[in-house]
Every structure is written in structure tokens, then in C-alpha cells.
Amino acid sequence: MNFDLSEEQQLIVDSVRRFVDDNYDLEKRKKYTSSTRGFGDDNWRTMAELGWLGLPFGEADGGFGGNQIDVMLVMEQFGRGLVVEPYLPSVVLGGGAVRRGGSAALRSTIVPAIIDGSAQLALATMEDQSRFDLNDVLTRAGDDGDHWTLSGSKTMVINGGSATHLVVSCRTAGAQYDEAGITLLLVDATASGVEHRSFATVDGLQAAEITFNNVQVPRDNTLGEPGNGYALLHDVMLDGILAICAEAVGAMEMLYKDTIEYTQQRVQFDHPLSDFQVLQHRMVEMFMEYEQCKSMLLRATMEVAASGSGATRTVHALKALVGKQAIFVGENAVQLHGGMGMTEELRIGHYFKRLLVIDAMFGNADHHLYRFAA
């Protein structure tokens, strides 16, 4: 057992931290989120140049050969900085599906483009009726020999508007809720019949509603075996949950620390607010929950890195714990800041909003609690 970072890992942490310090504050973030694509193009290039976009890809595909632990280190720093570049959808989710399920030929064309940042991916799984269930799929693809014909619609696709390629879950066999018969396809976002409508989400990011109208998808763009996409999707989702929980832990750290700092400066009743015992205890709880979430994050990440989907139950535990406690920490950060906590002016509100979205992504705390208990 060893919780120390390797020299290489420490380098990653240091460089991401430096990037965040140099390129992120509320003002700059606002500039990125209000641009057309909703993030900083220069930042995206920097991430490519520093090799972060290639972190989890195999060396044979031109990647760094890293694993979930390396991604965790990056995402935790991103969480501290409220970074908005589409690392999660492109590298972790879309990239994760291609990396696991793409043929050698497909990987050789798309992976280098993901790594150099020229291609951006998004994972399109959610449908109007599907809520948190990945197996609830109505979008269909018909088998037309050398290509699939894809029809249906997806919603709340994070980065769906900027993505050059979409990883789409669709039904090639079976009924609405069947796990069998789901296939993952890599779809060119500019293909004829693909339409999207982008909108802002509460955390300042962008999502899209995407419709597919008889879109022809080459057979070689199938990720994994046709009909067996669910298991692949499950693995991608585990990575996604680990990544956003790492981000959440980074955000929680900032929230509890900002709150300590604020209550030490804010004087009411001739005393800094931090003199009041009830607030001291509250901040101790915020700190403890942050530490507990971090422990669970390490546990789940190391278990998945070691045994993949064998660690699914621990990932349910992680998402259940982080979802609940991130909201606890966020609500109390706002409460202890009083009126100031309710404004867009301080960063705590922005962390809070991001945490609310993280809880709702890939199933909220309740959803994972029931899965864990089942």
C-alpha cells in the first residue's frame, strides 16, 4: 500500500496546477464560457501541447499509456480551477470508448487527432425518457451492410455542439430496456442528417440536443461488437464517474478553504465569524466530508485501475458519497458566506453550481445508493 505519487505523477500535478493558476480566475473563466465554443481555444491547444490529451491512450496509439489514476490527478486540479475545456467528454468519455472499442484502423485515424486536439468528442447516450439508465435506448441503427443507418435523438450531450465526432449509443436489436442489442457508433458530427442545438448549462458549460435522421455511419466506426455496446459503455461510465468525482473533490477543497478564509475575515458582532463555535463545527464537518470523499476517490480509482468493472460497486459508493457530500459542502459554503454566497461575484457559487451538475451526471447520489444497496 502506497499513497505517494511517482515522480511522473507529481510532474503532472505540478504542471496542471501551474496551468490553472496562470489561466484561470473568475474573470478569465467568464471570457472562455461566453465564447462561441464555450471554452478557451488557447487552453485547449496548451493541453494538447503538454500531452494531457494523450494521457489515458495506449503508447501504440501515440498516447502516454496512463490510467485512471493519472486522469484523476488532472481532473482534481481542473476541479480546483473550475476548468471548462472539454477534457472529460473528449478524452475520458468519447476517447475512452474509442480507445476500448475502436478497430486498429479506426484508432489510427482518430486517436492522434484527439491527442493533438484537432478532433473533439462527445458522448451521446442520454435520451428524453432515459434519465440515468444507459440501457434505456430508443435511438436505432439499421444494418445496411457496409454502413449503419442511424435515427433518433440524444439530449444533454456535454460538448455536443463543439464536438467533431460523437459516440452514440443506439439499438441494433432488442427492446427499449434490454442491455443486449445496444451498439456504440462513432459518428462524424458533420455527416448529413446530424443536427444539433447547443445551450448553456447552469455550470457555464454547454450541452446540446442532437438529432440523427437516417445518418449513414460506416461499419468500421462500430466501437466494440455490435449489440455488445452496453458493457463497453459501462466501463466508459466508470471512468467518467471517477473523473467527475475527482473534479468534485478539487472543488470541495476550494469551497471549504474559501469558507474558512472568508469567516476569518468577515466581522460581525465585533468578532470574525470564525469565532462562533457553531460555524467552527460546520467547517470541521465540511473539511471531514472533503477528506472522506478524497479517500473514497482514491479507493475507487485504484480499484478500477486494478480490476476494471470488478470495482463497480465501489464506484457506486463513490458517486453516492460524493454527490451527497458535495452538495452538503456547497450549501454550507453559501450559508456561511451569507448574502455574499448568493452572488455571482464570488467563486464559491460557481463551484457550487458545478457540483450540482456533477451530482446529476451519470446518475445522482440516490441512483447510485440504490445500485450499491441492490
Binding site: 445551450f199 450541452a207 468578532h271 453559501v334 448574502g339 457559487g349 453550481k353 450540482l356 451538475v357 446529476a360
Partner: protein, 397 residues
């Protein structure tokens, strides 16, 4: 002790429901004209436009049961938008502390909803510790007016208000609570500058108000100079009971159930989901108890007794319930709740759910933060204030 409504109460209930139904807003017509007309008609019913006002000032003189009936009936039907600052908060203070001239001058416009008021209490350095306020009012040499300078913050609806009731400092000697003076002045004048503050839900409801060399005639002072704290605190009592919002929560609970039932799942709806159902049930049980806590408090108030311990619980319980309702609504929306400018994605309640949840975080901050509210209960109800001297120096808000 019984819970039956008497025949008179039943008749009253029928009358109220008929009135509300007969005067409901008709879509497509002028909202503001309807609003003023509604209040005029409610007035003709015998003071239904100002349910809490005493009969001496034209209020209806209802029994607690009648108040209860009114609250429940209005919560389930559309009534005109009405901010509490004039009719609920300032009016009782004018009745208690104002001169007959002030009552004659201000109450009719408040009652007719012709003049909108805002509350100038909080300042950057005076939130929970309201008595720390620094906005200065200097009496002119001839004693005819005050000159006011300072900054107010979080002033709800200041951008829509015609007048402000404003706490100012006229003296620095003695305890912080002394030397506070309660002034009234118009918002639309040179020297009053209103700057919007955007809150987390994305809305513009609160503002920063800069006040520079604003002249306020002494006739606009409520109560004596330096004795404004009593007025300020009396008003807060009225603010707090309003914040509990039990009737609205009862309606919101039913709405939440309907919404959850509209979210389909493989084996039914979200309302059939054992986890979600349990959370709603816990909330409903708390709400059932709080409903009766409110009734006990109403009954005590009408029998002329000083507000009992029940009333201090109401703000804490009521706001907790409202926040949980908002949180469950947000959670019922799932990831769709994150769609901000999303237009048409997911159920329509989802977007409202997120902004509603974010706005609801303020309920435990304004009108006395929950932590401070508990201090007040510990001290005034349980009699267990801490003996440290530093605690004794604190304000009472």
C-alpha cells in the same frame, strides 16, 4: 379542542373560494389593471386586501381559523403579485409608531398597492449584526430635515420601489442599538443610486443602494430620533412569520408529487421509486407537524398572548421545508435541471427546479440567518444564553 370547522367557518370558506374564483385573472387581459382592481374588490369584502391589519385600520378582524382558511385558499389559487414590504412589514409599524399624519399619508397608498416599498436595513458591514449599521443621518441646523449618506446592500426590489424605509445612524454614543433612526424617503430622486446584484439563480431581485446627501424632512421619521431599533425589530417579527410559507409549501408538495409522477421509469414513475417516495414522505411528515405548529401560533396570537415558542420555530422549520422541496424538485428533473438557457429540453419544471433550488438557499440567510435564529431561541425561549461577556455585547437580530 377539536379540528372541525363551524358552520360559520364553512360559510366563510365558501365565500373566500367564490371570491377568488370569481376574480381570477383572465389570460390576455391587462395584468396590472386586474391587480389593482382585485385589491379594490377585496377591500370591499371588508378588509380582505389587508388580512393582518387590525380592524381599527380597516382590517377584517379574522379569527385564527379564518386566517388559516384564507391562507389555504389563496395558496391554491392565483392572487395578484404582492411584495410584503409595504402592507405586511411597514404598515404595522406605522400603526404602532407613526403619527396620525404619517398614517394618513402613507397607509392608503400602501393599502391600494399604489406605492411600492423596499427595505433598507442591511449594509456591507451590517448583516446579521444589523445594529452595526453606519448609514448616517445628520439633522440640519434648523432641525427641519436630515441629510442621509451611506450604502445599503441586498435591497430586494429597490429597482422597482417608489419609497424606502431606511435604518440610519444619528448617534454614535452608547450601545450600538441606540442612535438608530427610522426614516422614509422616495427612491426616485437625485442622490439615490440603485445597482443590480445578480444572484445564483440568475435573477435580479437584490440591489446595492448608494445614498448621497439625500434630504429627508423630519416629518418622515417614524418614532423618535435614536429609537429606531424598536421599530426595526418589531418589523422583523412580521417579516419572519411571512417567510415560513407553510401554505405555499403544502401546495408545492402536491405539485412535486405530480411532477415526480410525470417522470416515467421502467416500472412506473419516479413517484413509485422507493427512495424518492421515502424522501417525499419524510418531507410531508415534517410539513404536517409544522402546519399545526403554525396553527398553535396563530391561535396564541389571536388570544392576545405574546407570541409563544412555536412562532420562533416557524421560520427555521418553514425554510428548511421549502429548501427540501426545491431540492427534490431539482432532483426530479435529473440532468435536465442543469439545462439553463436550454429552451425545450426535458420537462418544463426542470429548469425552474434548478433556479428555484439556488434561490431557496437564501431563505436560511435573510430575515435572520438560521444560526442566529437559533441563538435567539436559545436565549429568549430556552433561557440558555452563554454567559461570556462577548456574547452580551451582541445585537439581537
Amino acid at each position: 379542542m377539536d379540528i372541525d370547522l363551524s358552520p360559520d367557518d364553512l360559510a366563510f370558506q365558501k365565500a373566500v373560494e367564490t371570491f377568488l374564483d370569481d376574480n381570477a385573472y383572465k389570460p390576455g387581459t391587462d395584468y396590472f389593471a386586474w391587480r389593482l382592481d382585485w385589491f379594490a374588490k377585496a377591500r370591499e369584502k371588508g378588509g380582505w386586501d389587508v388580512p393582518k391589519w387590525p380592524t381599527a385600520f380597516g382590517g377584517p378582524g379574522w379569527s385564527p381559523t379564518q386566517h388559516y382558511i384564507w391562507q389555504r385558499a389563496t395558496a391554491t389559487r392565483q392572487t395578484p403579485m404582492d411584495l410584503p414590504f409595504g402592507p405586511v412589514m411597514l404598515a404595522p409599524m406605522l400603526m404602532q409608531y407613526g403619527t396620525p399624519e404619517q398614517q394618513e399619508r402613507f397607509l392608503p397608498d400602501i393599502r391600494a398597492r399604489r406605492v411600492n416599498w423596499c427595505q433598507g436595513y442591511s449594509e456591507p458591514g451590517a448583516g446579521s449584526d444589523l445594529a452595526n449599521l453606519k448609514t448616517r443621518a445628520e439633522l440640519s441646523a434648523d432641525g427641519s430635515h436630515y441629510v442621509v449618506n451611506g450604502t445599503k446592500i441586498w435591497t430586494t426590489a429597490a429597482h422597482m420601489a417608489d419609497w424606502i424605509f431606511c435604518l440610519t445612524r444619528t448617534s454614535d454614543t452608547g450601545r450600538k442599538q441606540e442612535g438608530i433612526t427610522f426614516l422614509l424617503f422616495p427612491m426616485k430622486q437625485a442622490g439615490v443610486e440603485v445597482k443590480p446584484i445578480i444572484t445564483l439563480g440568475g435573477a435580479h431581485t437584490v440591489n446595492m443602494v448608494h445614498i448621497t446627501d439625500v434630504k429627508v424632512p423630519v416629518e418622515n421619521r417614524v418614532g423618535e430620533e435614536g429609537k429606531g431599533w424598536a421599530v426595526a425589530k418589531g418589523l422583523l417579527q412580521h417579516e419572519r412569520t411571512g417567510i415560513a410559507g407553510i401554505s405555499n409549501s403544502l401546495v408545492a408538495l402536491e405539485r412535486l408529487k405530480k411532477r415526480a409522477a410525470s417522470v416515467t421509469r421502467p416500472n412506473g414513475t419516479l413517484l413509485d421509486d422507493p427512495g424518492f417516495r421515502t424522501k417525499i414522505a419524510e418531507l410531508e411528515i415534517d410539513l404536517m407537524a409544522t402546519e399545526y405548529t403554525e396553527l398553535r401560533s396563530l391561535a396564541a396570537a389571536s388570544s392576545g398572548a405574546a407570541p409563544g415558542p412555536e412562532s420562533s420555530i416557524l421560520k427555521l422549520k418553514g425554510t428548511d421545508i421549502q429548501q427540501r422541496l426545491q431540492k427534490l424538485t431539482m432532483q426530479a428533473g435529473g440532468l435536465f435541471s442543469a439545462a439553463w438557457g436550454g429552451g425545450k429540453v426535458g420537462p418544463s419544471f426542470a429548469r425552474e427546479g434548478m433556479s428555484g433550488y439556488l434561490s431557496s438557499r437564501a431563505y436560511t440567510i435573510y430575515g435572520g440567518a438560521s444560526e442566529v435564529q437559533k441563538d435567539v431561541i436559545a436565549k429568549n425561549v430556552l433561557g440558555i444564553a452563554r454567559s461570556e461577556t462577548r456574547m452580551n455585547k451582541r445585537g439581537d437580530k
